[in-house]
Assembly symmetry: C2
Homo-oligomer: 765 residues x 2
Amino acid sequence: MERELSVVGKRLPRIDAPAKVTGEAKYTVDIKLPGMLFGKVLRSPYAHAMILKIDKSKAEKLPGVEAVITSEDIPVKLFNSGLTDLLVPEEIAKNDPRDQYVLSNKARFVGDAIAAVAARDRKVAEAALDLIEVEYKALPAVFDVVEAMKPGAPKIHDFANGNIARHISFPGAIGDIEKGFQEADVMIEETFNTTKQLHCPLEPSACIASFDSIGRLTVWSPTQLLYLARHKIADIFDIPEGKIRWITPFVGGSFGNALTLRAEPICIALARKTRKPVKLEYSSEEQFIATQSRQPFTIAVKMGVKNDGAITALQGKLTANSGAYYSLSGTTTNVCMAMFATLYRCPNVSVEADIVYTNIPISGGYRGYGNPQAMWALEQVVDVAARRVGMDPVEFRLKNYRRAGDPGWTASLPIESCALEECIKLGMDKIGWREKMGGTKEGVKRRGIGMAIQRHVSGTQPMQMTHSNIMIKMNVDGSADLMVSGCEMGQGMFGVLAQIAAEELGLQIGKIHVVNGDTDETMFDDGQHASRTTYVIGNAIIETARQVKQQLLERASKILATRVDDMYVRDGQIYVRGDLENKISVEDITRRATYNFEGQGRNIAGKCSYVPKGNPPPYSAVFAEVEVDINNGATKLLKIVFAHDIGRAINPTNVEGQLEGGVMHGIGYALTEEYMVNGNNGVVESDSFTNYKIPSTLDMPNVEVIIVEQPTPSGPFGAKSVGECGLNAVAPAIANAIYDATGARVRDLRITPEKILEELSANIL
Amino acid sequence: MERELSVVGKRLPRIDAPAKVTGEAKYTVDIKLPGMLFGKVLRSPYAHAMILKIDKSKAEKLPGVEAVITSEDIPVKLFNSGLTDLLVPEEIAKNDPRDQYVLSNKARFVGDAIAAVAARDRKVAEAALDLIEVEYKALPAVFDVVEAMKPGAPKIHDFANGNIARHISFPGAIGDIEKGFQEADVMIEETFNTTKQLHCPLEPSACIASFDSIGRLTVWSPTQLLYLARHKIADIFDIPEGKIRWITPFVGGSFGNALTLRAEPICIALARKTRKPVKLEYSSEEQFIATQSRQPFTIAVKMGVKNDGAITALQGKLTANSGAYYSLSGTTTNVCMAMFATLYRCPNVSVEADIVYTNIPISGGYRGYGNPQAMWALEQVVDVAARRVGMDPVEFRLKNYRRAGDPGWTASLPIESCALEECIKLGMDKIGWREKMGGTKEGVKRRGIGMAIQRHVSGTQPMQMTHSNIMIKMNVDGSADLMVSGCEMGQGMFGVLAQIAAEELGLQIGKIHVVNGDTDETMFDDGQHASRTTYVIGNAIIETARQVKQQLLERASKILATRVDDMYVRDGQIYVRGDLENKISVEDITRRATYNFEGQGRNIAGKCSYVPKGNPPPYSAVFAEVEVDINNGATKLLKIVFAHDIGRAINPTNVEGQLEGGVMHGIGYALTEEYMVNGNNGVVESDSFTNYKIPSTLDMPNVEVIIVEQPTPSGPFGAKSVGECGLNAVAPAIANAIYDATGARVRDLRITPEKILEELSANIL
């Protein structure tokens, strides 16, 4: 018998909304400390250059300047700015290079940090930057991965021959790829390119760092990975981790941008030098050029298919552009390969990747974390394959997709649940698949529909058992303080976790207060990544809440003269089953427990360390309808239908919001966002919102979200994840729709009118 | 075999010292919030008056004024400003009147709060006070308890006939007092008077209150009782307790002054009215007149003694001056009675008390909490009695004092340990008792010695089982966050608790970080009172630390291949007994536990709710040597020897500091501090440090502190308390010394030259 839910599943308003609409929510930039200095960073104008000499004397003499630092003032320890190394199994992580210093004595991209200033105000700091005299020796630079791998290409890091940072063979390869190709009736070979995509959070990177009189460092920063950021800073600056207090106030969006260190190391170096609090805020331009963005791949796919639609072999050869430093390139590439290789059943699979340095800004993790790149290639190849064997692409997918019981994203993890068929069925009905498939085929404006599917994760298990440590303490008014690490970055974490806590404790949502974002207050959690929050932290909260509930019930059982097992809690009341009159309020119990000075007093509370027991994958089916003007190649996106296999929607409104936001990212990836680097000098030309076009509300088509709820056994109230799922398959669905409308197959992101026209003219020839 | 201690017992520097000497420590007044208003209070110039009308229109019109509030704007709920009602058993507390409003429509003392203003800055707020027009109807006032009880005296509270707020019979009365008197060979009857004494903390009362957009209230205030203050405010303002976050920054001394609400209710009322953050800082004058001070008693003692020195009967009749409101008068009176009645063995004991309202400022709790008043009477009566039966006062005490196994301060609680004899022996040697006893007897400057003893509590058990709730979480560097409610008010709590945690965890002191003073971060604790911190919270920390240590050892046992019972932790290393080479560091264990993503990951942590199991009383013996000029009555205090039965000194330097500070308070009580109320109009004339004289370093005699360590079974590492003990018996020791020197018995505090001369002339007559 399914339990009747009273808080979970409800469309509740966001609990962080009042603070945000009133402006009372504090972000890092809002924090002001007495005597705080302001930092600024001097960045290289060269894409590749040796720094021969820095004369900082003039800058230091400027009144109000308190410190000018260069590579000589910073720790000599190489690091990787990605925060997740700790989570990666050692056999994989050991090959990830550490290639970055806080400040560099060699510039490797336009915008590389060379020096920094701390001054009494921003203007002085900016003026001081102009007074730092740097003597550069410009070096030849390379921006393209193919050029970078050629013999004689400029060498960006000494250790990386051919600028190849790392070669990775997908560890889940199976079968014999050549044999698989031989067994195929039809071979498809296609090569795809993806672009860098910028996260564009509303809040640029910012940091405040302050050392106290005993050397304890407090950092305020909008990181997604509170404890891992603390770990990395401790390592770079050789400070014991317990001597660092990391505070993450509200975060103004991140989408993966804050999975790396950004302003923090330089800010901390300035605070260490001056022994005063320092604030370092990135400008909008710095946010564009000096933080990581989505890793671009070239993906060469070779797929063998039988005439009945069975896939016999799948091969991927990936080349990733890491940019100037390695950062998260290893893990994003691994995820890309895993998602590419394991969405469909296929007995012979092989994926290889080269991660290549170039003199462009750093690549890293962005919502989807390799999955959108994989789907861009795979979900078009599948479309091609289906058409080649004369199958409806939907039927082709339904035949081949890996489903419940099949191996998941790693071979050892069977898929716990899958509602993809239901998603596809509902999505097809909503978009009108059977009626519209095949396109309009006449006139200048051609309509077509396309679809794509995706499967993602609800955490990183079993590769990484990222434990979550929770505490819940009851107040005497029957309310609960939920103490959880992590960050509310707009995704609605506070509300979702509060709903889970409220449901399990039997309280109303208003009785949950989230205490969050401070390593002094909360225990270890690895943070917001891999769409893990609802599934992993949610389960940890349930386990903790059960401890608390047990204490409540034990005390109630004495008063109500009933066995613990015969009671339940709902809406703040503890009831005896089958006897609605025999009850006592949680408030009454907590008050009697706390304000008990006769020997049985206690603050009712629970704590737990929870290790995830599974990783049920959420599936989605995305349907796109487009209208393409075949005269000018202009694409009008008419409609997106997005059906998502969520397991359980803790808050359906929030799930819809997450998916709509993801779709928006996917549309930008497909159609509007273009990261442009000047091929002569490496200058990023898309360095603002005027020349890097993210979709606005006016660019959004009608998006219909369908939530499919088939509770998954290991999920909190059956929930799987949603965070990253929205965007993974949007771009290939649009590309497939354009093909359906026009016959033009665009293989390189972003989809431009020019590329469509080029494909159309090629087809005609 | 006693365990060898490595952190406890060491003279370690205070861990809060660096923050304090650098000025980095934040007190409530240091907190600034954006848009914060400043509050000011309008106080009555009359000692007793009806408020007929308040015209606030002119004040409200002053630019910058945001609110003017009077009794009409505040909750209509009567309350008691003392914070400990919750702790007092219901049968006792139910008779404690609630007699106060946040702002009154009847003034009951000069300084009673009538109205308050919130304005954009202090100057505007002050100017606005002058514009509030109050029409008072002056009433006859009464300042003396005897006058107040007379028929026809002005009635201060309607319900209190004869201005008697409450009559209390000491519940521990035993025997038949009249029979006891009949059995006596010698009867002593003496009446003593004590004075109001001001706590004089360096930090006057201050508060900041801020409501957020969902009505959650944050309060910053230097209270000693974080959670109880939150409870009382919740009750007055009808806010659920979980919707109040109470933050107590560093506290600049308190000595019991912050056992009541002070600036908080008015500050919160202003914030509620304006919906903006409000800061209310008491001026030094307000601190003197508008916060509670030590309750003055008249104590009539009747003691019956056998010729062999056995006490047959002890009777006390107390009259307490509560001032204008009741506040803590009930509990201080109860403690006074208990301490009076139970220091000595006596089969027939009776104590009665009347608590009387007068039109002077409020009385309440001050370090010692009734015990100094009791000792002022009792320890002089004992001196008189000893002399009357021809015994050395020391011998008399040694014959009669209640010792280990005897009933303690409540009949149900046997005395767990007692090292008074050792204290007396060491003190006698140090002061030169046998040589000097009897005084110099000639010349103008007469020398004499006197002594007194005291026994205090290590908490409030068994009357109040004040549980303490602790959490300890380990950091990956092998350091520990000790999460404990309560306040560092200069007593050295942080250091003492950190030493206890370090010792039990086997860590160095620098590895303990105290997280404190915020109801969001820590669990319930009733706070700093009754000298309970070391004993109750210390024991709670030990229990929590044991949980943590168990987890550390369990993980270590797998690595070292040893049973948990065969290991121990010291200086951050886990050793196998008898094999110093077979070890692993705590850091190694915590790092492997936290950075474990293979399924056994956890943040090692512990939490517990601890209910005290005992209340071992600390004893002290105080010896004073004086020189009195019999021509002018001037007393020169030559020396104080203070021997204290601490059980175990967690930090001997800190114990000495606490005792020296207490002795200073006792000397002020005895000789320099005089609270003066104008008998005509009730104006407090001792309203500043120029007319209220606390001892300075120049007034301090040579103070020798002797720490006697006989570990008590239930104490943390054997510790008993020290906080309040230093002052309880200082004044009677000095009075007894003056008698020894001159034959003058001064019964009324403070001891002035005039009173000595008066006694001397009376003796001559």
